[in-house]
């Protein structure tokens, strides 16, 4: 019996020696067949397609590297896991096992942290939307409340008066750090004096215990120096409090926003080559604090709420090719079973996509669409990919941050999420949705329960 050759769909490609085009060069040279020793094919056979896969090993390694980057440069460091980045319970617990506190931005996230077993005093409560009920709970639990606006400050003071408790608070400070856009919608502004006014209100009231200062200057930051400026400004505020009231601000919370290895849309070079490392951010922040006027014998605790940089690379989205087609101008279009409903971050990033099976050196300029019957569902506008056939498997990289929280139940259902443990064993950590999980939340009024067509 003769063995037939492996089939690859026929390709004819024009050779052009003019300006580089926006599809760029070929980037994939090897198929991506295994995650932590588990084959992509077996993961898809066991858990379906599409499926999110998280590597516990990568999360822990990344966390340890980040902790080392800061702890080798500064004596008092505390990480707080940013729940909104990925609040799947298994993920949160990996970070809590590593020593992270919880950083939450809603009553829902707060309750989730409590359910995970995080002590209230190790929960940082951020965000503009804290209800009176949320605040009462946080105050009772001795949590760290980061005040976003004056209405919240007044509400906390009212609860403090009523309950005779002294809530532990910080204020969030926004500021000019030389980057654009400047985030000024959260917290109190440094330059125009809002932050100083709010601090004076807190100190004069005597109702609240001002324990910290918080900032979060932006997202997917590519400039470590902006953090140095921010840390200096917060340290300056802390020193003014010390001078005026003789009150020590115990911690400086620098928030998050560190970039991962993803490539931002419009970036000229890949993020893996150009984005700053965690050491770059650590160096900028810790140098600024060490050089500030804080007394060397009582440096403030440095809190970091970084999310994306700790988990993006640990997440993979596995999917399959639904179909290939041609657009009107002859461009190749490939439709995947993975769309913007699952890959929210494809609105910001040019995600790296690798075939999970052998391929040749031929590539084709391709537009990657998702499965939704919606024009917005485009995963990659231009990518030079090896030739894919219907049914072929692909791996989308660096998807651990935000996708498993910002995903949409839209047109299709959300898939299984699997975590591969330290021994290479996969565990289902979130079951895929069924029509029941959606419809069980609905109610049909009696007069709408029947119809005839």
């Amino acid at each position: 019996m003769t063995t037939k050759a492996r089939y690859e769909r026929p390709l004819i490609k024009k050779l052009e020696s003019n300006m580089p085009n926006k599809f760029g060069m070929r980037t994939e040279f090897e198929p991506f067949t295994h995650i932590d020793g588990v084959s992509v094919a077996s993961l898809m056979a066991d858990y379906g397609s599409p499926v999110f896969v998280l590597s516990e090993q990568k999360i822990r390694n990344k966390f340890k590297a980040a902790r080392q980057a800061f702890e080798t440069r500064y004596p008092k460091v505390q990480f707080a896991w940013s729940y909104k980045t990925n609040y799947l319970s298994a993920v949160c617990n990996v970070f809590h096992q590593e020593g992270s506190w919880a950083e939450v931005v809603s009553g829902f996230e707060y309750d989730k942290a409590i359910r995970h077993g995080v002590d209230g005093s190790n929960i940082i409560f951020n965000g503009p939307d804290k209800t009176q009920e949320d605040l009462r709970k946080a105050i009772t639990n001795n949590s760290l409340i980061h005040i976003d606006h004056l209405d919240e400050l007044y509400m906390i003071q009212e609860i403090a008066r009523e309950t005779r408790q002294k809530p532990k608070v910080a204020i969030r400070v926004n500021m000019d750090t030389g980057i654009y856009p400047m985030w000024d919608r959260f917290g109190f502004n440094f330059e125009n004096g809002q932050a100083w006014d709010a601090l004076n209100k807190i100190m004069f009231s005597g109702l609240l215990d001002l324990v910290g200062l918080h900032t979060h200057i932006g997202t997917f930051m590519l400039s470590p120096n902006a953090y140095a400026i921010a840390a200096s400004k917060l340290a300056n505020l802390a020193q003014r409090i010390q001078q005026k009231y003789g009150h020590e601000v115990k911690y400086i919370d620098m928030g998050g926003g560190f970039s991962s290895l993803n490539t931002l849309k419009g970036a000229y070079l890949p993020g893996t080559d150009t984005n700053p490392s965690i050491d770059d951010f650590a160096e900028a922040i810790t140098s600024a604090l060490i050089n500030s006027d804080y007394h060397p014998k009582s440096p403030p605790l440095l809190i970091l709420e970084t999310g994306r940089a700790l988990i993006d690379e640990a997440g993979y989205l596995l999917g399959s090719v639904i179909a290939n087609k041609r657009l009107s101008d002859g461009r190749r279009a490939t439709i995947l079973d993975v769309g913007v409903n699952l890959l929210f971050t494809s609105f910001w990033y040019d995600h790296k996509i690798t075939p999970a099976q052998e391929f040749t050196s031929y590539t084709e300029d391709t537009v990657i669409y998702g499965p939704l019957c919606m024009n917005i569902d485009m995963v990659r506008e231009n990518i030079s990919l090896p030739l894919l056939n219907k049914g072929d498997k692909i791996v989308i990289h660096h998807v651990g941050a935000y996708n498993m929280t910002q995903w949409m139940q839209f047109i299709t259902l959300r898939p299984n999420v699997v975590m591969i443990d330290m021994d290479g064993k996969p565990h289902l950590i979130r079951k895929n949705e069924s029509i029941d999980s959606i419809e069980n939340l609905e109610e049909i009024p009696p007069h709408l329960s029947h119809f005839e067509l």
Binding site: K4, A5, R6, Y7, E8, R9, P10, L11, I12, K13, K14, L15, N324, R326, G330, T360, Y362, L387, N389, K390
Partner: protein
């Protein structure tokens, strides 16, 4: 579909159109198809031939062949049939 007589196709998949000066590259399956088209083979025969040589069903091969022929037309490498 037939390929124009002046189109040069090398054994390793380099295609040159002397009329326009344009050059192209084809992969192995594309090269097989071009060579069969040059010989005037019909669609059915090409599909059969490829299905004997490669691990793929005739439906997939036929679909890909139609797509390939469309690209050959787009690049003006085909002979207009009278």
């Amino acid at each position: 579909m037939k390929i124009r007589n002046n189109i040069a196709v090398s054994d390793n998949g380099f295609v040159f159109n002397p009329a326009s000066g344009e050059s192209f590259t084809v992969n192995q399956v594309g090269l097989d198809i071009l060579n069969m088209l040059r010989k005037g083979e019909k669609q059915e025969a090409i599909v059969q031939e490829l299905s004997k040589k490669y691990q793929a069903d005739t439906v997939m091969i036929e679909r890909d062949l139609l797509d390939f022929e469309a690209m050959v037309k787009q690049y003006h490498l085909h002979q207009n049939e009278d």
